[in-house]
Amino acid sequence: MNKIRLESVSLSFGRRELFKNLTLEFSAGKVVGVIGRNGSGKSTLLKLAAKILKPDTGEVNIHGAQTVAAVTPEMKIYDALTAAENLNFFAKLRGKNINPAELGRRVGVDFETEIRAGDFSTGMRQRLKFAILLAVDADVWILDEPTSNLDEAGREIFLREIKSGARGGKIILLATNDAADLEVCDEVIELPAGGGDFS
């Protein structure tokens, strides 16, 4: 069974101690929502789980799962490339053959266009980022505020895809400030304000 396990993880930024002795497990086939106030460490927790950040002490182990994909505000796409070029590039990095047009239909944007991603609207770019996540078909989905900047229709598409991803056995972590996103979550973790001692 695929899972991610954080074992007595501690992390601080300078003097700001965010996590102390945090132990958590995320298993496949479930959407785990992460909520908490600004600065509580939602994004950091996701980065730790994805091994983008290394903890100061403790361990993060990803069992079974091989690949990680993410939609986060700081991970940008290439503005100089078109949607299809962006999709093809990231798919190629993961050895996948994809059909941009079909992915475009799934997220509700026309990707068969010469328009570069830099000229997309914020919402369209968000949908393109999500399409990249779908394109690479990773085992672990890291979703940080994925529905921000989306209209209602966009949110519905995203939540539907997230649900079906979980049914397909993905490990899905969803950090959000939006209560509407919580309807797809099977579990919700609430982080205390300002991080905390979890021992």
Binding site: V68, E74, M75, Y78, A80, L81, F89, K92, L93
Partner: protein, 220 residues
């Protein structure tokens, strides 16, 4: 390198090439920098015949600083645009390094194809041993690309970037410059050259490439 890493590196090279074609800023900066540097020197000496040794040194100084203008942003541009984080998530570190190194070498080669004729014409210099000159330039650029790519990765976390890149790159590429200048001089004059300098350059290029590969893993 694993096959998947090689394919990733090739994809990154292709992507950098596409972005480079559309955002011509980096290449335009390199080309204009070299043109300005050559013109300023050629104008100020005003047709005086310059010794081959000095000419060889000038050529490499121009190449070095033009390279600095063009390749210092190899990682920084992506970091500023926010795409570096995405790239690092989706590609293996070694693929990122070698994809970028290959693209850096390609842009340096393109730069030199532009710069060398301009240089030779404006300084009215004849080349006696063209193959020696080309071999020297190829080996020199390979080393600059290897050291420059790693150095560009080092400067990403720096807050003050102005001038940092050439400061860091110069000492590390000195073992390339010294033999390259000496070989270039021989190529211009047709004098006998020291083959051990060519070997030293090949060897140093190889060492720089391997060292960059090993050290880059620690930067993650």
């Amino acid at each position: 390198m694993k096959l998947s890493n090689f394919l990733q590196a090739a994809a990154i090279f292709h992507k950098d090439f596409l972005v480079g074609l559309r955002r011509r800023a980096a290449f335009a900066a390199m080309a204009m920098f070299s043109l300005t540097a050559i013109a300023s020197m050629s104008l100020s000496v005003g047709g005086i015949l310059i010794e081959p040794k000095l000419l060889a040194a000038l050529l490499w100084v121009v190449i070095f600083f033009a390279a600095g203008a063009g390749i210092s942003g190899t990682f920084e541009d992506e970091a500023a645009a926010g795409t570096l984080a995405t790239l690092k998530l989706y590609a293996a570190p070694q693929a990122v390094l070698f994809g970028k190194m290959a693209f850096t070498l390609a842009s340096l080669l393109a730069l030199t194809i532009f710069l060398l004729p301009v240089f030779l014409i404006l300084f009215d210099a004849a080349v006696a041993q063209i193959f020696l000159l080309l071999a020297t330039i190829l080996l020199g650029l390979t080393g600059i690309a290897a050291a420059g790519t790693l150095t560009a990765a080092l400067t990403v976390s720096a807050s003050t970037k102005g001038g940092l890149f050439p400061i860091l790159l110069f000492p590390v590429t000195l073992p390339i410059f010294l033999p390259a200048i000496s070989l270039t001089e021989a190529a211009l004059t047709g004098a006998e050259f020291a083959p051990e300098f060519l070997l030293a350059m090949i060897f140093y290029d190889a060492i720089l490439t391997v060292a960059s590969s090993i050290l880059y893993d620690f930067l993650d």
